[in-house]
């Protein structure tokens, strides 16, 4: 069985996001970019499944500009067997990405597709669900535990839902999206970084995959959330009540 893992290149989790002055998007010039943390977890899970003997190959896919190759190299250094880079210079919304992943799945025929539950840049939380729907495969989102049964060809997945944990059993092939507590991703070690240098990364274009990239969604404006006003320290209960009454108008 092959496992396909989608890995997205995003502004590093620790970097403060800044909106471009013309409000067309987020500033990514000269900003540290890294692999989306949820994708890292997805890749780690795929690697563990392979190491446990349930899969033969882990393929990392990244869709975006040429620097996505760096993200793929990180994936290969973690242990993925090969990479696919679908070159795209405009940034795509989830539906387009899902269509690209669907076409790739039709070429590669994986038994499992792993994705992060969301990307930390746009926080959409849609791609995994859309891929499953387009392929007509079962889906298990927000996974915090994944157990494979090779003989029965099913995956048992614990997912984190509002009320607690829900356990699902899905037939393979399936789409799984990963939550934070699923695992702790490994580091890229020197021997693996060295090995990664000789692992192949295949370049493809949207045209190769025959995907229609026309989108029905148009982004009008990107703005920062309103700044929270700083609090004040009140000196007495009376002052607090006064403020709640006359300034906040809540009592």
């Amino acid at each position: 069985m092959k496992i396909l893992v989608a890995v997205k290149r995003v502004v590093d989790y620790a970097v403060k996001i800044r909106v471009k002055p013309d409000k067309t998007g987020v500033d990514t010039q000269n900003v540290k970019m890294s692999m989306n943390p949820f994708c890292e977890i997805a890749l780690e899970e795929a690697l563990r499944i392979k190491e446990a003997g349930f899969a033969k190959e882990v393929i990392a896919v990244s869709i975006g500009p040429s620097q996505c190759v760096d993200t793929l190299r990180t994936g290969l250094a973690m242990g993925a067997d090969r990479g696919i880079h679908v070159e795209a210079n405009s940034s795509f919304l989830p539906l387009t990405i899902a269509k690209i992943l669907k076409s790739l799945a039709e070429v590669e025929n994986p038994g499992l597709i792993f994705l992060g539950k969301q990307a930390i840049d746009d926080d959409c939380n849609q791609t995994g669900q859309m891929v499953a729907a387009l392929l007509g495969w079962p889906q298990a989102t927000f996974a915090s535990k994944v157990v494979l049964d090779k003989d029965k060809n099913v995956a048992t997945v614990d997912r984190e839902v509002d009320g607690g944990l829900e356990t699902l059993s899905v037939d393979l092939p399936a789409v799984i999206t990963t939550d934070l507590r699923l695992n702790q991703p490994r580091y890229a070690t020197l021997p693996n970084i060295m090995k990664a240098k000789s692992k192949p990364i295949k370049k493809m274009t949207v045209q190769d995959l025959k995907v229609d990239i026309k989108s029905d969604i148009e982004i009008l404006e990107v703005t920062e959330p309103p700044k929270r006003k700083s609090g004040v320290i009140v000196s007495s209960v009376d002052e607090l009540i006064d403020k709640l009454k006359n300034e906040a108008h809540v009592v």
Partner: protein, 561 residues
């Protein structure tokens, strides 16, 4: 994460102080010398510290017999008999009500602190090893107030301790007896920043991390960085000539501090707040205040050259099988990564275990444990260039066998967790119990020999750890013990100082001398040099009110009084 802990060290200290007091009363006073570690080098049978009760003498036996490895001669300079005393200088006045009301008049009620809990914190050092008994802390808001305070204290001959973030590691920032604490923490404004030259001018009480935060959106960084950044003040950094993690790249504060303003003991304000990189007009006196640990004046403003924040920072965490490999790796790194190398730090396996056992959520980045670990950081302007250069360098080192395993941080989060291991050692030491801390400069090839020698000497009695700024030849040698213990201390000191002196090292690479090593200065400085230092001290502070009992040998300072 780690920073929150530092900034909250006040709470922690308060807690520790309670336990310290508890221990003291339980053991009938006789424990002070061993609990505090304050009296290292002295016998414990001494009459104990009874602060501020009219009897200010602490008589302590000098362990002279242990100091005979060629050092005797120097020690004769300041102790004629075998007994040496730390005693409160009787010429200093004690506070009275008139003093307090004068201070309230100039500073306002609120900035004259007599509250016991706050004083307890201010009287106790970061390691809760040194503890004074000051009854008063003053919080000036500007240079003028500092000047008024000092002028008054000088006229009344009240002793003063300048205090910053109180993170110093040699007992320099807390009173020894009842000195008045002057803390410049309220002087925390940035005064100017020049985006062209990168020169930052600020008040001395600015917290290092706040300055870094101020600079970040402007695309600059401070030229120094250290584990205590969440609490330490820039004035404290300047006064201790703090080194830290970026020294290998940006040099010491003697190079990056372009100017400062300081107030001397008599209240004189010295305006040396230049912002020029080059200025050869007469003696460059600002250097006297860089690293003099508050013994010559209170630093009130600082002008410092900050550095452009470069976008490509890469960090590797490596394992080495022996110290020789670490050394060779350093040589290669300087040669091959020169223009982008920004940190080269090391820790041994004992330090790693200490961190793993005492800090939560830490894991060893490499899969199996090794004898040594190295952090190499590169900083440059081109992401691809920096990363490829570092990777190529490390792969070569790996093939040559200099590095047995290693990882490269793939994102900032991973990098922070690697740094957390190195920066967390001091905190882990503190959590593990009592510890003796030494900060030595040695030729790189000698650095680990002293750790091994000391391990042999102490055997099972203690856990000896070595880590530090290898790139700068700076070893932090730490000895973690269950309880402070004078017998053990007798095995450690003066052994370490003699060893260091023999190898022409420095007994204080970056932490300073404070009260801990004031008497040990001769291990690293010639008598003539020390004599000139004493003259300078007497010139700038004739009544000796500034940070008494510290930095210079006590006997040389108090002789004339």
């Amino acid at each position: 994460m780690i920073m929150q802990k530092w900034t909250r060290s006040g709470d922690f200290l308060r807690f520790c102080c309670k336990s310290l007091t508890y221990l003291r009363s339980k053991e009938n006073n006789s424990v002070y010398s061993s609990v505090s570690g304050f009296v290292h080098g002295y016998e414990s049978k001494s009459k104990l510290f009874e602060p501020n009760d009219g009897n200010h003498n602490i008589e302590l036996q000098h362990r002279c017999s242990g100091r005979n490895l060629g050092m005797q001669q120097q020690y004769r300079c300041f102790g004629s008999s075998s007994a040496s005393k730390i005693q409160r200088n009787p010429l200093f006045s004690s506070l009275d009500a008139k003093d307090i009301s004068y201070f309230k008049e100039i500073l306002g009620e609120k900035n004259v602190i007599e509250d016991e809990e706050r004083l307890e914190t201010a009287n106790t050092d970061w390691m809760h090893k040194y503890k004074g008994s000051s009854k008063l802390m003053l919080l000036p808001k500007n240079t003028e107030e500092v000047s008024q305070i000092l002028q008054y204290c000088d006229s009344r001959r009240l002793a003063v301790v300048p205090q910053g973030g109180n993170t110093g590691l040699v007992g320099g920032s807390v009173p020894v007896f009842d000195e008045v604490i002057v803390n410049v923490g309220l002087m925390n404004k940035v005064l100017a920043f020049d985006e062209v030259s990168g020169v930052l001018v600020c008040e001395a009480g600015c917290i290092l991390e706040n300055l870094a935060t101020f600079l970040k959106p402007k695309g600059f960084i401070m030229p120094l960085d250290l584990g205590a950044k969440g609490s330490c003040h820039i004035g404290g950094n300047v006064s201790t000539n703090a080194g830290g993690l970026r020294l290998i790249r940006y040099g010491s504060l003697h190079g990056t501090v372009l100017g400062l303003e300081a107030v001397t003991a008599n209240g004189n304000v010295l305006d040396m707040l230049g912002t020029l990189r080059k200025d050869n007009t007469g003696y460059d006196l600002k250097h006297l205040f860089i690293g003099s640990e508050g013994s010559l004046g209170i630093v009130t403003k600082v002008s410092i050259l900050t550095q452009p924040k470069l976008s490509s920072v890469n960090l590797a965490f490596l394992a080495c099988k022996d110290y020789l490999c670490c050394q060779k790796l350093l040589v290669e790194a300087k040669r091959n990564l020169g223009e982008i190398l920004s940190a080269f730090e090391f820790l041994d396996n004992n330090s790693m275990d200490l961190v793993l056992n005492n800090l939560v959520g830490v894991r060893n980045p490499v899969s199996s444990s090794e004898n040594f670990y190295i952090l190499i950081e590169t900083t440059g302007s081109d992401e691809t260039y920096g990363r490829e250069k570092l990777e190529a360098f490390l792969l070569k080192a790996f093939e040559k066998g200099l590095v047995s395993d290693g990882v490269i941080a793939q994102d900032i989060n991973q990098a922070s967790s690697f740094w957390h291991i190195r920066e967390g050692i001091t905190e882990a030491l503190q959590k593990a119990g009592a510890f003796y801390k030494y900060d030595l400069s040695l030729p790189v090839e000698e650095i680990y020999n002293i750790v091994n020698d000391l391990r042999g000497r102490l055997g099972d009695l203690a856990n000896v750890m070595g880590y530090g700024h290898l790139g700068d030849g700076n070893l932090h040698l730490n000895i973690s013990v269950k309880d402070y213990n004078d017998e053990l201390l007798g095995l450690i000191e003066p052994y370490i100082y003699e060893w260091t002196s023999k190898h022409r090292g420095s007994i204080s690479a970056e932490h300073g001398l404070g009260v801990m090593k004031a008497n040990e200065i001769f291990y690293s400085k010639s008598p003539e040099t020390v004599a000139l230092m004493v003259s300078i001290k007497k010139l700038l502070d004739p009544k000796g009110i500034l940070n008494p009992y510290k930095v210079l040998p006590r006997s040389l300072i108090s002789d004339d009084h």
